[in-house]
């Protein structure tokens, strides 16, 4: 295992709704090393999404410390958080979150645009990323002209186009049928082999078996945290035209 990429110390998140306080996370301390692929499981409302949003720098903890690549995230301002989201990590959502009426290519170029990368390089890198997820022939399709699986692959391409250390995925197969889910998981696993750290939430034990470590959440706490031998995705279930080796 590599050096720690993520380190949280007693991270808590409290939502205040009028009189009621909801403890979404309670003292979560986790260390995730570079190159690990971690599946996060647990019942609905156990705090998985809350944890992913904090680790993905979209949200801040109410208390506790969070270090990402050695940087204390809870101390950073909005601009620095934007930079981390842009360069250090890629986020994949359950609901894809692509810009509508915008081509696949432009959606994938979006992070590069905010990174200040020249138009020519944006273009080639976005093309490469789409080819990697098997959508080399769908560059100019809009999200509403693509299937759910294809849309999620565009989202994966967008997450990896900046060459991040970490990809955070919150139920990336939650809106997909089981066959498409396997395809997406194969994609993630191929990514894992390139050394990228993966953090993904899932409800399905089948899918968690592809990870090298399973963290189970319950009521805002880590209930169990175990290493396992990751199941290899079936050969052939990955898209035929994918070029997944680095």
């Amino acid at each position: 295992m590599g050096k720690p990429l993520i380190e949280t110390r007693k991270v808590s998140k409290v939502y205040r709704m009028g009189e009621v306080e909801v403890h979404a996370l309670r003292d979560v301390s986790l260390t995730i090393s570079e190159g690990e692929s971690v599946a996060v499981m647990g019942p609905s409302g156990s705090g998985k999404s809350t944890l992913m949003n904090i680790l993905g720098c979209l949200d801040r903890p109410s208390s506790g410390g969070y270090w990402l690549v050695g940087e204390e995230v809870s101390q950073l301002d909005r601009n620095a958080l934007a930079r981390l989201r842009n360069r250090t990590l890629g986020f994949v959502f359950q609901s894809f979150n692509l810009l509508s009426r915008t081509t696949a290519l432009e959606n994938v170029e979006l992070p590069l645009l905010y990174a200040g990368i020249s138009a020519r390089e944006r273009h080639t890198r976005a093309r490469d990323a789409l080819a990697r997820v098997g959508l080399g022939d769908r560059l100019h399709h809009h999200p509403n002209q693509m299937s759910g699986g294809q849309q999620q692959r565009v989202a994966v391409a967008r997450a990896l186009v900046t060459h991040p250390h970490l990809i955070v995925a919150d139920e990336p197969t939650g809106n997909l049928d089981s066959r498409t889910s396997v395809e997406i998981m194969a994609l993630f696993q191929e990514l894992g082999r390139t050394g990228i750290t993966l953090l993904l939430v899932t409800h399905e034990a089948d899918i968690a078996r592809y990870a090298s470590r399973v963290v189970v959440m319950h009521d805002g706490r880590v209930r169990s945290d175990e290493q396992q031998t990751a199941l290899q995705a079936e050969p052939g279930s990955a898209p035929a035209d994918a070029e997944l080796s680095p």
Binding site: A82, R85, N97, L99, Y114, G116
Partner: protein
């Protein structure tokens, strides 16, 4: 992101809602075109007034019979003549700030040629009258001092009268016209003078020696003069001094006790000119302010639509932030959208304003004057409207919390 990138993203967003974008800019379009057209008309009117007073001659004073007060005239000027011919002589010899003085007797008469006739104003004047008004003859010769002495029956025609009686470009010198049955010999034609500030045609007039006017038009010599004096000061600075000297002289000659009202009035043409110009300026300012208010209303329209747009696109903002857009990237995106709307409105507004001004000029003969500085100000102002009214929605967008924005339905 480079400014060009920001602009491209903004224009794309606006093009998605073409009709809405157009309707949003409509307020600015109307505001800017109104400002441009109103100022062009106002400036045109001002220029015409200036030109008209310049053509009237400088340093001029007009002395009239009758009293005047702050509220205006009692009974009307000249209704009861108080000025005498001796007054005119005294003004000429005793008022040091006065250069020229001429009587101006006026009567509307039918002027008859061989086969035409025309009603116009017949003026009895002295030779100095034309010097004061810097009004030379275009053909023939002017009225001479000996014409005054002998009361000769000679006449100078204005261009309009020539056009009406003899046809345009005709040279009627040497021919004669009849006024009240008296034949007058045409000794010359005056140069074209144009219109007065009030739109009256200066060239629609004929001039005869004042002595002849008294004898033939008024019928018999009188002590009192049924007309006015036109007086010019030695310089424009001396105008007020001349006015004072004439007033003192006339009060003395008319034996008015201290505290009694003047039985004459002196009008200063320069003052009248500036008063009229003030009027035009006030009108221009008023029109331009109304137009500027509509520009602000246009700005509020932009703000309204930008706020709607920020709300509608909350999720888009969340997605952009999730992939690394900084608050200032979001701010500039929405600000540039507002600016693009207002500047586009400004440019279209200028074109429409110029078009409207030209149409008015062509169809109604209104004078217009296009001022480049006003166009620059209009563009600048519409840009300012965009920034001022776009800033709040843009700030609202940039302050969104990424996770809240992504959750927005």
């Amino acid at each position: 992101m480079s400014p060009l990138q920001v602009l491209r993203v903004a224009v794309r967003a606006l093009m998605r809602n073409k009709l809405r974008s157009f309707l949003t800019t409509l307020g600015v379009i109307i505001g800017v075109s109104a400002v441009i057209a109103m100022v062009a008309i106002g400036e045109g009117a001002k220029a015409r007034v200036e030109e008209a007073f310049a053509s009237m001659g400088s340093n001029l004073l007009i002395v009239l019979s009758g009293t005047t007060s702050a509220s205006g005239a009692h009974g009307g000027f000249g209704s009861m003549p108080t000025l005498t011919w001796d007054d005119l002589k005294a003004i000429r010899s005793e008022a040091s700030a006065v250069r020229y003085a001429s009587p101006q007797l006026r009567s509307n008469q039918q002027v008859i040629s061989e086969d035409q006739n025309w009603a116009t104003s017949v003026n009895g004047v002295s030779p100095e009258y034309f010097l004061m008004r810097t009004w030379p003859v275009a053909m023939g010769s002017p009225i001479s001092p000996s014409d005054i002495e002998t009361g000769s029956k000679v006449v100078l025609l204005g261009q309009t009268v020539v056009d009406k009686l003899f046809g345009s470009n005709a040279d009627p010198t040497g021919q004669s016209v009849r006024i009240q049955k008296t034949p007058f010999q045409i000794i010359g034609v005056l140069a074209r003078k144009g219109q007065s500030a009030t739109g009256q045609d200066y060239d629609d007039a004929v001039f005869i020696p004042y002595t002849t006017f008294q004898a033939k038009i008024q019928g018999g010599l009188q002590k009192f003069m049924a007309g006015a004096f036109m007086v010019s000061a030695v310089s424009s600075e001396a105008t007020t001094r001349a006015q004072l000297q004439i007033a003192t002289l006339l009060r003395d000659r008319h034996h008015l006790p201290i505290g009694a009202e003047d039985d004459f009035s002196i009008r200063n043409l320069t003052e009248m000119a500036s008063a009229q110009q003030e009027g035009v300026k006030t009108l221009t300012t008023l029109l331009a302010s109304i137009a500027a208010v509509s520009l602000i209303v246009g700005g509020i329209g932009i703000m309204n639509i930008m706020l709607v747009s920020v709300t509608e696109r909350t999720r888009e903002i969340g997605i952009r932030m999730a992939v690394g857009a900084r608050p200032r990237d979001v701010l500039s995106q929405f600000l540039v959208e507002a600016l693009a709307l207002s500047i586009a409105g400004g440019i279209i507004g200028i074109l429409l304003g110029l078009l409207a001004a030209n149409r008015l000029a062509a169809n109604f003969g209104w004078p217009i004057l296009i001022r480049l500085d006003i166009i620059a100000i209009a563009v600048g102002f519409s840009g300012l409207v965009g920034v001022v009214f776009g800033l709040y929605p843009a700030q609202k967008a940039s302050r969104l919390d990424p996770i809240e924005a992504l959750r927005y339905e």
